[in-house]
């Protein structure tokens, strides 16, 4: 938080060199009133929705993935339908379905943020489940056998051989899913949740006369904020991927 504030500050001094004309311009808008705090508050909503969804999707996705490797035709068919349904539907449609649909159908009034978390968990569970399934089936049967041939018990085989290999294949993919969630969370604007993007819009609109050219710097800063959140996550995933390549 502090580091990014300093970066923003140096950026603003850079832009203010080009200040011309009577009306105030550029990035100065950020430090007007509590604009910066508001933007950070919006970013916090974004992060809260995506990280909470990711955290809930993790255990559910692992369970769902294990369920998908079962041979039972009924579980197979149901999980397939669920996965395809979630994949085919645009996230926005799912958001509307949960937010407006439940209000209509069950007279339930879910808050925008809760609806968003429900949709992202549904989505994350499906996607992560498919990743878990892929990681599990990609470990050949004979790896289990070679562990057994050394005298390892099934529990030891799972613990020392199968789970470490599954996790290594899974974590980079799962982390990429988190960054996709962070980005996709900007859709929740459309069900009335005020996150970082909406906050930016509000700031631009409220200062339309004093800062007529505020859109570029504000959206620029929002770009930077998204970047600062997602980039380290991607770097981390790439780093793990390199280290664990087999």
């Amino acid at each position: 938080m502090r580091a990014s504030a300093i970066e923003l500050f140096s950026l603003s001094s850079l832009l203010s060199l080009q200040n011309t004309g009577g009306r105030e311009r550029g990035i100065g808008i950020l430090f007007d009133g509590n604009n910066f705090e508001r933007l950070m508050g919006g970013l916090f909503v974004t992060i809260r929705i995506s990280l909470l969804s990711a955290a809930l999707s993790l255990p559910l996705g692992i369970l769902f993935g294990m369920l998908m490797t079962r041979r039972n035709p009924l579980t197979k068919a149901l999980s397939r339908i669920y996965l395809d349904f979630i994949r085919i539907m645009p996230q926005l449609v799912l958001l509307f379905l949960v937010y407006f649909g439940t209000a209509r159908a069950f007279a339930l009034s879910l808050s925008g943020e809760l609806s968003a978390v429900i949709v992202f968990v549904l989505w994350g569970t499906a996607e992560l489940g498919d990743l878990v399934r892929g990681a599990l089936v990609s470990i050949p049967r004979i790896q289990y056998e070679s562990a057994a041939a050394l005298g390892l018990t099934p529990l030891q085989t799972a613990f020392f051989i199968i789970i470490p290999q599954t996790v290594r294949r899974l974590i980079p993919l799962a982390i990429n899913l988190v960054t996709r969630m962070v980005k996709t969370s900007s859709l929740v604007v459309l069900i009335g949740v005020v996150e970082v993007l909406k906050t930016g819009q509000q700031i631009i609109d409220a200062n339309r006369f004093r800062y007529p050219t505020a859109a570029l710097p504000i959206y620029g800063v929002i770009f930077l904020l998204y970047f600062l959140v997602c980039w380290p996550i991607s770097l981390f995933a790439g780093c793990l991927e390199k280290r664990w390549r087999d």
Binding site: Q143, E145, A149, G151, Q156, F160, I161, Q165, D246
Partner: protein
């Protein structure tokens, strides 16, 4: 001299779910220190026999005894039994997320509860024997096929097995790497290891075996000294099988 017999198989039957009988009443005794080579056309049940011995396949009838102790039909004892039987697979099956040294010491430490220092000392001694000392920190992906297979052999040896099972261990290797693996197996046999080897390397079989078993259609069709088997096979099927490996040279000249 029954105390000499390490592995004793009686009337072993095995069918797959489809109902195909793959082993039809195998009787086999392996003496301590003996090197047996199983030959036969593919699908004759050689690999299945090895897999039945260390319990990777369930058997449908008969008995398998190791050191006089009944080991078949006893799934709870399998981890214990398998420590006495080292198995090497065609596809090496090293654990890709562990270094060479970790691959070798995993089972001694976790299964036999050896101290790490002792397990690593033994692993290094074995690696030295197969000329792979400098690879102990390497990951399997960094090794050639022949090196991986030598590590796999060392990994099995680290458990101090009473008997080694080799399932076509050179079949996936490039020709120039076959030799280094066979040399390790030859050395093992010279040290008196009891071995049951499935292979298609006939020259190696002839050199290493104390006894050749020729399998056909789920039975042991012929068993004998390697020289006798290769020069004068008793059965028609064995003659046909050996004939598959011979080529008559192209007609020379065009007289």
């Amino acid at each position: 001299m029954t105390e000499d017999v390490l592995l004793s198989i009686r009337n072993l039957h095995k069918s797959y779910e489809s109902g195909n009988a793959i082993l039809r009443g195998i009787d086999l005794d392996v003496k301590r220190g003996e090197v047996l080579v199983l030959l036969g056309p593919s699908g004759c049940g050689k690999s299945t026999l090895l897999r039945c011995i260390n319990g990777l396949e369930r058997i449908d009838g008969g008995s398998i005894r190791l050191d006089g102790e009944l080991i078949s039909g006893n799934p709870r004892e399998l981890p214990k039994i398998r420590q006495k039987l080292g198995m090497v697979f065609q596809s090496y099956e090293l654990f890709p997320h562990m270094t060479v040294l970790e691959n070798i010491t995993l089972a001694p430490i976790r299964v036999q509860r050896k101290g790490r220092a002792e397990a690593e000392r033994e692993a290094r001694e074995l690696l030295l024997r197969v000329n792979l000392s400098e690879k102990e920190k390497a990951y399997p992906r960094m090794l050639s096929g022949g090196q991986k297979q030598r590590v796999a052999i060392v990994r099995a040896l680290a458990m101090h097995p009473e008997m080694m099972l080799f399932d076509e261990v050179t079949a996936a290797l490039d020709p120039e790497m076959v030799r280094e693996v066979l040399d390790v197996m030859m050395e093992l046999s010279e040290r008196g290891m009891t071995m049951l080897i499935v292979t298609h390397e006939l020259a190696f079989a002839r050199a290493v075996a104390d006894r050749i078993l020729f399998m056909d259609q789920g039975n042991i069709a012929e068993s004998g000294e390697p020289e006798a088997f290769f020069t004068a096979p008793k059965t028609e099927r064995a003659r046909d099988f050996l004939g598959n490996f011979l080529f008559s040279s192209k007609k020379k000249g065009r007289e």
